[in-house]
Point group: C2
Chain length 301, copies 2
């Protein structure tokens, strides 16, 4: 599971940072989280082809997270896309976007399907053979939710030599991968632990933006491999952070520490800061394995 | 009168070229023509402050010319703008944009005023003390018009020595600047040509995009100092140009030549061309004083 940051500034873009958008790459698939203005430009600049992009998850309906949708949708139509595109978002998005699609993208070659999210609930919102995506209720000025990308439990690793040794028929292998013991013809039980090694732990990526400091999210993101948490402000601007429903870098790091995540990426920087390294220093004082997001950053969960 | 190109690609952006947007600088004022996605980002990248931007002229309602408006409007609100912003466009724009402004830009600190353009007519659409802007009806798949920015006739230059020599009272100067003769106390008529030199010719800039080849526009742009004319295609793709209501580079140059313009800038390139220099060569074969637009180009009319 990998993530490409397409944009990581907050309300206003700056020269080198667009507004929020990310790509989650998982096996052969590609998912988008949020879609700020210029997302389609960033995809071209970072050489990300949208062919395998079929699902977009929108955290909330502030402009800096959605204004790139109509341009992306329009351009996908112009290049003759045929696969459906599913947008998971608060139901108001459809009301705002469908009239624009009808007007600007007449006779499109593909369908845009809106799937409604209730951002107040922690629920499964997407599932396929190998992945689940859950909503993470956040605390913001408007209904907002993060997303937890969770690889499904993988099968246990078969120990080839043991399979050969006990002459285990191939049809039994899937059951053994799932943890079943094997019973030989003479009735001897061979415990699963002798036949397999534990599965590689499933990867988990959590995206939490936009949100004020909210301890409520900790159980949902406990132990994730990678957490993207907004850090719009320095803690010296905590009054402004609270008033606008955002977090400080210190608060992002406290969440990462208390949720025992493996790595923290901070982003959604306010345009007021010329030196975002100050945000990094503030977070690292609390949670050392923190990195700064930047447009074009590609990282492993 | 100066022009900054913010974006000059056509329907699809490419890595180094955003979709259409331009700034016309005239004395202390600033005007925008079209507003493709990412225009606000380009303004920051090219260090153009929007403070003095009060009028935006939209040629037509294709997405690549308007998708940047909502982001720009929203960001201007966030930085506390108070001055009205007037958008001159086909009346459908207001229908599409006002609901978005109402939803995404609640309680904005300034007003967006829509002024309706009838793109089929060549009429005065803006006027102030020193400038007039006219619409130029174009030929496209949807109603489309270009814009002619025309500096007003300037006063004649006073020859200071003559004013002193004839002891002309200061209150007479404005009349003499406008071409009046001076009559001395003894009744002698001093012809204006002895007191003044001709005014500097008013500058004129014409923007013609999007449009198929249309000789009809020639009288309206006759002799302009600078013409921006779309050149979406090479002439070898003329069938596609006609089908989509666009021009070839050759056709843009023919218009420039037949209208006796001083300089031609071509742009609105199709994303299919890797070497836009081919478009330049094609145009220069017909009209040598041609330049290629690029994002960030700043030029004098």
């Amino acid at each position: 599971m990998n993530v490409t940051i397409l944009g990581c500034n907050s309300a206003l873009p700056v020269i080198e940072r667009f507004q929020t958008a990310q790509i989650v790459h998982f096996r052969e698939k590609m998912f988008m989280i949020d879609c700020g203005e210029g997302t389609q430009i960033r995809m071209r600049q970072f050489k990300i082809k949208p062919t395998r992009l079929n699902h977009i998850f929108i955290s909330h309906l502030h402009g800096d997270h959605v204004f790139g949708l109509i341009g992306l949708i329009s351009s996908l139509g112009m290049v003759g896309r045929t696969a459906d595109l599913v947008i998971h978002a608060h139901p108001d998005l459809e009301k705002m976007l469908q009239p624009q699609i009808d007007y600007y993208c007449a006779e499109m070659s593909y369908k845009v399907i809106f799937e409604s999210i209730d951002p107040r609930k922690h629920v499964l919102i997407y599932e396929d053979r190998s992945l689940r995506v859950f909503s993470i209720p956040l605390k913001h000025r408007v209904p907002s939710c993060g997303f937890l990308f969770e690889e499904k439990e993988k099968p246990r690793h078969i120990i080839r030599e043991m399979i050969d040794f006990y002459h285990i028929p191939l049809k039994e292998i899937p059951f053994i991968q799932q943890g079943a013991d094997f019973i030989t013809e003479d009735g001897t039980v061979i415990p699963n632990e002798r036949l397999t090694r534990p599965a590689t732990p499933p990867k988990r990526y959590a995206y939490c933006s936009d949100t004020a400091f909210s301890k409520r999210i900790i159980p949902w993101i406990e132990g994730v491999d990678l957490l993207y948490h907004e850090a719009t402000f320095l803690h010296t601007d905590i009054v402004r952070a609270k008033a606008t429903g955002h977090s400080s870098a210190q608060q992002a790091a406290e969440i990462a520490r208390d949720a025992h995540v493996k790595q923290l990426i901070i982003g959604h920087y306010s345009a007021r800061y010329d030196h975002i390294e100050d945000l990094l220093a503030e977070a690292q004082a609390i949670f050392s394995n923190t990195r700064l997001a930047f447009d074009g950053l590609y990282l492993h969960a």
